[in-house]
Symmetry: C2
Subunit: 304 residues, 2 copies
Amino acid sequence: MKVCVVGAGAIGSLFAAHLAKVTEVAVLTRREEHARALNEHGLRVSGRHDFTARLTAATAAFDLPDFGLGIIATKATGLEAAAGSLEQRFPNATIMTVQNGLGAEDVVRRHGEWPLVSAVTFMSGTKHSDTHVEYILDTATWLGPYGDTPFERVQEIAGLLVDSGLRAEALPDLRPAQWSKLIFNATVNGVSALTGLPHDPHFAAEGDVSDLGHLVRELVEEGKRVAAAAGVDLRDDPWEMNVLATKRGSAHYPSMLEDVEAQRPTEVELINGALVREAERCDVPAPLHTALYRLVKAREASYA
Amino acid sequence: MKVCVVGAGAIGSLFAAHLAKVTEVAVLTRREEHARALNEHGLRVSGRHDFTARLTAATAAFDLPDFGLGIIATKATGLEAAAGSLEQRFPNATIMTVQNGLGAEDVVRRHGEWPLVSAVTFMSGTKHSDTHVEYILDTATWLGPYGDTPFERVQEIAGLLVDSGLRAEALPDLRPAQWSKLIFNATVNGVSALTGLPHDPHFAAEGDVSDLGHLVRELVEEGKRVAAAAGVDLRDDPWEMNVLATKRGSAHYPSMLEDVEAQRPTEVELINGALVREAERCDVPAPLHTALYRLVKAREASYA
């Protein structure tokens, strides 16, 4: 199964490099010099794994060979353009989305009838250059069918990822995992973007009444009530995910904090916005997540 | 009535310069060069009024002549030190506080038995240098008795302020005005500090569901429920204060936003913290103000 990875940030680079060890991989990037560098030097992985992969890169879908699996690994903010670039082509492809939040599949669906696979990934990396990514957390990617996609197709893709050296698991229903990460991300990314704190022990502190952990816990509880109303049994408790993550050695710098510090658009719509819209759809109050959503949107408005 | 103004930021400078036209004024500042400049050059007022006042400045209470009215015009964060510097001295003085929020009088009371006058001021100015303040909004200062202070004393002080060219009004009960400003400040300062937005039309926008005005309105409503439970009839509706202020030509830059941008301690405890504690005392839920309080505290924690 030939693969095309759209978007070569940290996550896209980790998928592309690993998969290139077991199949033919093309990468679709935005910048010419990025594509040129990948074609010339390959893509180096350091950290948990150590190798350099050879792959093909291009900046236009027109230049891509046909493929059986497309992985859209852009940020949520680049998703619409990425899906648009594949429109009316690659009829034999299955497309997999790995964006944070909810709703990425719907965006892709508007651009074509490909079978879709939903994924959430917990692996992490740091991109040191266009041709070098450090593999940091080797936690799993979970995949599930979206719409009519047969589960066997999902298992096949998960198998390919495992063969390539990544951790992956096919789940008949991805929503329990997707929602655990949604609630975790809406809470941690939102609070981090507004306070300037990386995901550090403040997020689990519940000593004094002014401590941030109280708010984090209330946001998680609110999110869990929305999940319950939406009929989703969470796979992991987002509060436990939070406590565990803050106990790691160095505090993670959430992407939404990086975005507001660089005055870039954030993924707030697919993360916090999606949770707020689900709450409304299910008629469950979510005042704290709604507040967070409006505050982050206002923070984006302050760039202008 | 001789006057001592403690703290010569914009508000303290406006009080000191105006009062120096009608009585003897001493200013207590933190920095030596500030005191020296005031003693040498006087204090210039521009904007609404235009004059230069002569006054005495010192950096130690020890060097101050006796006075009948002390105005503590530091920020909330400098209040403890300011009150401490007057301790066990000036037995004939009445002390007036003009800090934002609630609880300034209690801090001063811990340092002496002076009769106390509460004040909230709506005037504003910009300090261009240690010896030059621009008088921008010539709105009133409202004064009320605190504890056993006779109302006549409050009227006398209001009269002195009016004689000096400032707008002032003595009120038998300051709480309706104090709480209107408290709810306004807790909302606008908190939201501004977190979003980076000055107090601009976003704060009154209620078109889209993601618009910030919805949150501002909910924060105001929550604050009004706390005021009602505390037995306070608000003087002005904080939502109307908000709408009116955002319609002025140039957006006001709230001090709490200036503080977080300069990574200084904010006045969050006497403003948002005070409102949250009042809600708890009156057993009224205030989830949104509690969230704002914890987020601003966390923003302060991010400086380290």
